[in-house]
Subunit: 350 residues, 2 copies
């Protein structure tokens, strides 16, 4: 399939890192070949006491607790732990954001070359997505691929891609029970594919390695669901899963695509899964309520902006899930607050 | 994910080959390491005049025009060309069918080993499918994989898989326009993944390399849509695409899964795409009617058997598409005839 690639300039991308550890030296040095051309936004977890250690040679803006307090003031949103990165999404002025956890390192592809996650995410976001019909050879816009026989020609121009979800080698993004049951399990399978997650199909978006078009779907990437027992380990969080469900529903409603697959990052170990088991079950239980809710959710035809979609989802969350568990009422409130902040800082598209 | 694999015995599988060429010597000798343990059903295209050449050492039943005429008699179904294989689906007495085109040869996997398509299709069909929520690490039942964080536990047992659609290396299953535009294009990307196509997402099923559970979904794999200009080249056919849409809708309705991905076959060239261009556009145009129809189709809750689903789909096809093009009216008639035959030969499940 020939297509007109949108060309992204380096200064249209912000790389946003939530710093949950003080010393980012190894992390940034490993990523230097990929990140050094871009503007970095690093948001320091307000719980971190010491100074951040950042190696030289990066174009970086660092945001700390005082920046968050000044801009956000009193709000139901808590920018602590993994949620601190979302402050970077808020203050970014760029069209595209790439965000990775600070315990991820560059992976190698099948040929042993360093994976350039920015280039791959950019390719995912700037080539069309195909949510309305599944292409069995995966991304039809990729070099050497195409639409297969039977794919309707009227759908071959695709739609804009708003969200790109990358994957993980070594330590995959499993929950605590799975990690605890299979402590030795490592993901070594490099699946050389990108695909569009079909419309109306839900997925567990992991915030570990993602990129998105801020103008299209930025308002739907927020830290709203915070577990009571949430800690500083990925498997103790659900903010990205919740936000990802909301973002998928918003993309489906607005006719944008969500891709999953390449690029991979190499994820290193942190924490003890068995210690987290007690906490995790809260999130596991909540998913049983969350999935049917989002599967049934349909937004009003007249709602045509991502931020208005988020407000509408928040209203439904409050009405339908608020009575199930207070965590959902708080999430709904945080979503409304998020849109208010988004507009206040001038990120709103109108 | 630990799971209880269903164990398939060799004699529960039929390998069905539609012979569109007389000399199957090279084809069968290449497949010998994979096929020799199984019962083969070879259906000779009634248009072929000469004797089939079949090498020794296979457990094979051959069906020819006289067998078809005797069993089918007068029917709206035409078992010519690629459609001849479906006669094999009809007369099979086994639970599982694996079917490949006779211009496909064994592929090699990433490690250079011969791909055992029977073993891989069997694995796809005997491990659960997960149509109701997308797992970003693909098939969670595969060795070394699992459900990712956020995947609802209540959906982790999955559902039965009824249909497994394999892929193609070298010459991919493109339509004639794509082949004509990119005559040099070859598929060399081995994507090491199997995934469940999500519920309600449609896909272009290719009949080149498939396997299915005859008991669950056999009645939905039929040759019903025959193009006026259909010839002996894959890109001139649409019977598999049409049947695949129907099978997907039936699987979605009955709560069975459809998988796509591994195994690959190595597909060799046959025919000149430019010669087929004129014919192909008929199928291309039809797809624009077919896709919205199947996307909107919902079967009655009370229809709980695959063969009754096919009858119901046929009724809707006749009512909704019959007026658009006579080809659809004929397809509807053939589907009803197919179910009649299915029951007559004793393939019906009750």
């Amino acid at each position: 399939m020939s297509h007109s690639n949108i060309y992204i300039k380096d200064d249209e991308i912000d790389i946003v890192i939530g710093a949950l550890r003080t010393d980012l030296t190894a992390f940034l040095n490993d990523w230097r070949p990929v990140f050094s051309r871009f503007h970095l936004i690093i948001v320091k977890d307000p719980d971190l006491k010491e100074e951040l250690k950042i190696p030289e040679g990066f174009n970086v803006d660092i945001y700390t607790k005082s920046d968050i307090d000044r801009l956000v003031g009193s709000s139901s949103i808590l920018f602590y732990g993994y949620s601190c990165r979302y402050f970077g999404f808020l203050v970014s002025r760029n069209k595209y954001i790439v965000s990775v956890d600070d315990d991820c390192f560059p992976a190698k592809d099948k040929d042993g070359s360093l994976v350039d996650i920015v280039a791959q995410h950019a390719a995912n976001l700037t080539t069309p997505a195909t949510p309305f019909f599944f292409n069995t050879l995966y991304d039809p816009y990729r070099k050497g691929a195409d639409f297969v026989r039977g794919y309707p020609f009227s759908l071959r121009s695709g739609v804009q891609c708003a969200l790109s979800c990358g994957l993980w080698l070594n330590l995959a993004d499993y929950d605590a029970p799975t990690q605890a049951l299979k402590p030795e399990q490592r993901n070594s399978r490099y699946v050389d594919a990108v695909l569009t997650v079909p419309a109306r199909a839900l997925m567990p978006m992991s915030g570990i390695n993602i990129a998105f078009d801020r103008e299209l779907v930025g308002p739907a990437l927020f830290p709203a669901l915070r577990l009571a027992g949430e800690g500083k380990l990925r498997w103790e969080t659900m903010e990205d899963i919740w936000s990802g469900m909301c973002a998928k529903v918003v993309c489906d409603h607005l006719g944008f695509g969500v891709k999953s697959g390449l690029p991979y990052v190499w994820r290193t170990e942190r924490g003890n899964a068995i210690d987290s088991l007690r906490k995790e079950w809260e999130g596991v239980k909540l998913m049983e309520e969350v999935v049917p809710f989002f599967q049934a959710l349909r937004l009003k035809r007249t709602t045509v902006k991502a931020e208005d979609c988020v407000i509408e989802v928040a209203k439904e969350v409050k009405e339908q899930l608020g009575k199930v568990d207070p965590v959902f009422g708080r999430a709904a409130e945080a979503m409304v607050d998020w849109v208010r902040l988004w507009r206040a800082v001038g990120s709103s598209s109108s």
